[in-house]
């Protein structure tokens, strides 16, 4: 390696550490009726009665989910929108319309990001960087997705009758938002993060995102464990975004091959959201998936001491219908952060 000045906040080759450990000040989840009937139904802050929310289109409804999740998270953090310096937001739609329109309504400066369903972890990472570096006092993180907007953009019109194969996933309708800030006090803290490498092992089936994403998840998780000198057992949970059944099997296989098997600690957010009898095939997907599970299921357990340390490794299939039609494959990425619970962590 060439002689370079050492980056003081890097650990190992790829991981970034946050010595002051930016704090989660508040988080909220708002989901659609189908998600409300899932196993985490009681844990969400709000379950809507329908998925159109009185709007003219599902795209507009998706924006309402994001804005509502943001407002609820701000309420919990006891902040007004103008107390937030930056909104880091992402969704699945072209031009990130959901995030753009939501930011216009909230009036918070926006970093719009896109890494498909990995957007949530990327947003947490960027928020932590901004707070750790002293560039922002409070950063709002939000991601949203909607089954019906995703289907019509990426696959077929919703009304088109067709049979989905068993590896197909169901996009989560809803949004999650998290407020990140600095300073003393309780609350789970972000202690490290890693930027994912884009991995493409030639998977071409848009109805099998799990297989496209598993190698990216394995790559990121393995690198982060190696850089930080930790083992999977050092985490209460390593949670991926939306690998689904097949992707989960493949992740377990790949991490076992690399000598750091995660199967004993791994949970997939996509498989926590729906019940088997809801017939969504391989599980949930979508930018909102990791966010609503983080806000409703993971954070409370970190806050009350049930869990000490979690790795949030959200996976994204960077699927382009145009590329697929041209014979291309589906590149995938996985960004991750380490979140540690309760008191005595960080500053």
């Amino acid at each position: 390696m060439s002689v370079q000045e050492k980056a003081p906040r890097r650990q190992g080759r790829y991981t970034v550490v946050f010595p002051t450990a930016p704090r989660v000040l508040g988080a909220a989840s708002v989901v659609g009726p189908m998600e409300g009937r899932g196993p985490l139904g009681q844990l969400y802050d709000r379950v809507t009665a329908d998925d159109i929310l009185g709007q003219k289109s599902w795209e507009q409804a998706e924006t309402v989910y994001m804005v509502d999740a943001c407002r609820l998270a701000l309420e919990k953090a006891e902040l007004a929108p103008d107390g937030v310096d930056v909104l880091v937001a992402g969704d699945l739609l072209n031009q990130m319309v959901t995030s753009n329109v939501a930011a216009a309504q909230l009036g918070i400066p926006l970093f719009g990001i896109y890494s498909a369903c990995a957007s949530f972890a990327q947003a947490l990472f960027q928020a932590a960087v901004l707070v750790e570096g002293g560039f922002a006092r409070h950063v709002l993180v939000a991601t949203a997705s909607h089954h019906k907007t995703a289907e019509r953009q990426y696959r077929y019109p919703n009304e088109f009758a067709h049979q989905r194969p068993p590896t197909a996933t169901w996009t989560v309708t809803g949004a999650g938002a998290v407020v990140i800030g600095g300073g003393d006090g309780d609350g789970p803290r972000i202690t490290a993060g890693i930027v994912g490498r884009v991995v493409d092992l030639g998977v071409k089936d848009p109805y099998d995102m799990g297989s496209a994403m598993a190698p990216a998840a394995s790559d990121t998780i393995t690198r982060m464990l190696t850089d930080t000198g930790t083992a999977p057992e050092d985490y209460d949970v390593i949670i991926t975004g939306d690998l689904g059944e097949l992707g989960t099997k493949l992740l377990h296989e790949l991490t076992a091959q690399s000598g750091l098997p995660v199967s004993s600690r791994h949970q997939d957010a996509g498989m926590l959201i729906y019940r088997p009898e809801q017939d969504v095939h391989a599980g949930a997907s979508g930018a909102a998936g990791a966010a609503v599970v983080f806000a409703s299921w993971l954070l409370p357990q970190l806050a009350d001491g049930h869990m000490q340390r979690a790795m949030v490794a959200a996976t994204g299939a960077l699927h382009s219908p145009t590329l697929i039609q041209q014979g291309g494959s589906i590149p995938a990425v996985c960004h991750a952060v380490i979140v540690e619970g309760g008191r005595g962590v960080g500053a």
């Binding site: 003219k56 289109s57 019509r152 077929y156 019109p157 919703n158 009304e159 088109f160 009758a161 067709h162 049979q163 989905r164 194969p165 068993p166 590896t167 991995v199 493409d200 092992l201 030639g202 998977v203 099998d208 297989s211 190698p215 059944e245 097949l246 099997k249 493949l250 296989e253 790949l254």
Partner: protein, 151 residues
């Protein structure tokens, strides 16, 4: 950059772990539902001939009636449940062709009646018509060239 070898190895792994599609169940469901839709067509055809339509025309009108029924079923949102159960048993009959036209028409209403409904109506059915006409023209010309059509 992943090597071709790594890609091959991984795709083998994916194949090993991919759950098999429930082909037998799917084929049986497609057979039953496709058969029943055909029976419905035959009943409509019988009714039309009894009303005095020539049987040559009655097949065309039967198609039109089925298409109307499919438009209703699509509008009320029941045709997609049928297709979820029966797969090609719902897609292959003319009712499925109708669903492929009616569904984007309804769905893209929100993008306007011209560039939404009008332009998107044939997103799925367009290729069916294009390849249907092209292959029919080839076959008809072949028949003509080989002298199979009275001149």
């Amino acid at each position: 950059m992943a090597t071709e070898k790594a890609k091959k190895q991984y795709q083998t792994l994916v194949k090993q772990h991919t759950p098999p599609r429930p082909i037998v169940r799917n084929v049986v469901a497609a057979f039953v539902v496709g058969g029943l839709i055909s029976v419905l067509g035959q009943l409509i055809f019988g009714g039309l001939t009894r009303l005095g339509f020539a049987s040559k025309d009655a097949y065309g009108y039967t198609g039109a009636v089925l298409i109307g029924l499919s438009a209703l079923a699509t509008g009320f949102g029941v045709y997609d449940s049928l297709a979820k159960f029966a797969g090609m048993g719902a897609n292959l009959p003319i009712t499925g062709f109708a669903n492929s036209i009616v569904s984007p028409a309804i769905e893209f209403k929100r993008e306007g009646y011209v560039m939404g409904v009008g332009a998107k109506m044939f997103t799925i059915a367009g290729p069916v018509i294009v390849y249907g006409l092209a292959s029919a023209a080839v076959m008809a010309l072949l028949r003509w060239l080989l002298g199979g059509v009275g001149r």
